[in-house]
Symmetry: C2
Subunit: 187 residues, 2 copies
DNA sequence: TTAATAGTGAACATATTGTTCTCTTTTATT
DNA sequence: AATAAAAGAGAACAATATGTTCACTATTAA
């Protein structure tokens, strides 16, 4: 509603994000956050009940954007356009990550990256699930749908973690090729 | 050295384990641990510098056992015996988990399971890495070795997480079949 | 039996959390 | 431009958690 609220919220998000790039989530204190955000203690607690809530809000904000943008792109391209690699939804996601809007990479490469990847995977699972159902692409009758969904989203997230820990030497396109190589054979 | 030390250590491990089955890691206090372990505050800090160190020690202890037992079994069976499913190293691991020695399942199904699975994955990666190198099984020339190792260990861990969250309705053998279905095609 | 080792429990300084209060600033609206 | 409503600042607070120190007791290995 108020412009100030959004500004304050953004300041807290940014301060929190930059702190996460420096140290482990669990060691960050509310005091550090409000100091860096130049925000009063009262204000912080008016916006977020706890540090965990802040984390949750940040993740929803961040991955919400990325996933919904991927969802839009899926409408035109499908979950996995068999022909040309660059159009796949996964390549799209990787490119998005590399662009590093809102310092997503900072979060995903910090000591507490698992927390974020967990949120990322949950969002991703929803996306893949819905695409599976919409497209009826699951020709594999031997494996349960939810196992496959979990396998795909899980593998993707693990790959991203591997990519970032290895200092992102591969391009999104290369990585997409890797991923297609291990996922397409089972679809 | 001292029998008492081992006893105390075991008591702390057990208390910590049972607490983890009840609540999130970050919300467990040292006070709760020492109360349940019937151990003095000083004693706790004589054994472990911080709660994080305790966690680390517990994981090393736990997964060390499981992995080294799997390593032994690999010597006779190989990473992936193509013929009969039940002998695969992964099935062996899953059976081990289901037997629930030292309440591994409690840890893996608690709110903070990601932390443990991360340790699990690291141990697993070492195992798979070494088996890959020893057996020279990587016929896939298009994908880097470390990507494959990460994909396999990552997928396995994600599967275990999925299994446990779904209340472990599948048997280790079924799960092993699922896993073979998504991994063997890419080897 | 005894010296060394391990554990107890209380007390402590320090740090963090989340709340409450009063006061100031900004915004939306007229 | 004036003003009421909303939002933030900042100090103070109780409650809780951490990690250390101390003097004392119990156990073990020899």
């Amino acid at each position: 509603m108020d412009r100030r609220q959004q500004k304050t919220r953004a300041a807290i998000f940014q301060a929190f994000g930059s702190l996460l790039a420096e140290q482990c989530y669990s060691h960050i204190t509310v005091q550090e956050i409000i100091d860096r955000a130049n925000v009063g203690r009262t204000t912080f607690y008016a916006h977020f009940e706890t540090k965990d809530e802040l984390l949750k809000a940040l993740c929803e904000n961040l991955f919400g954007h990325i996933i919904s943008s991927a969802k839009d792109c899926t409408h035109t391209h499908g979950l996995y356009s068999a022909g040309s690699a660059p159009e796949s939804i996964f390549c799209h996601l990787l490119q998005h990550l590399q662009e590093n809007d809102n310092n997503v990479l900072g979060l995903l490469s910090c000591e507490s990256s698992e927390i974020f990847l967990r949120y990322f995977k949950d969002s991703l699972s929803d996306l893949i699930q819905s695409q599976f159902i919409i497209q009826n692409r699951h020709t594999n009758r031997d494996l349960p749908d939810d196992f496959l969904v979990n396998h795909i989203s899980g593998s993707f997230v693990e790959m991203v973690l591997w990519w970032i820990k290895g200092r992102m030497k591969q391009t999104p396109e290369e990585l997409d090729r890797y991923f297609r190589s291990v996922i397409e054979p089972i679809l």
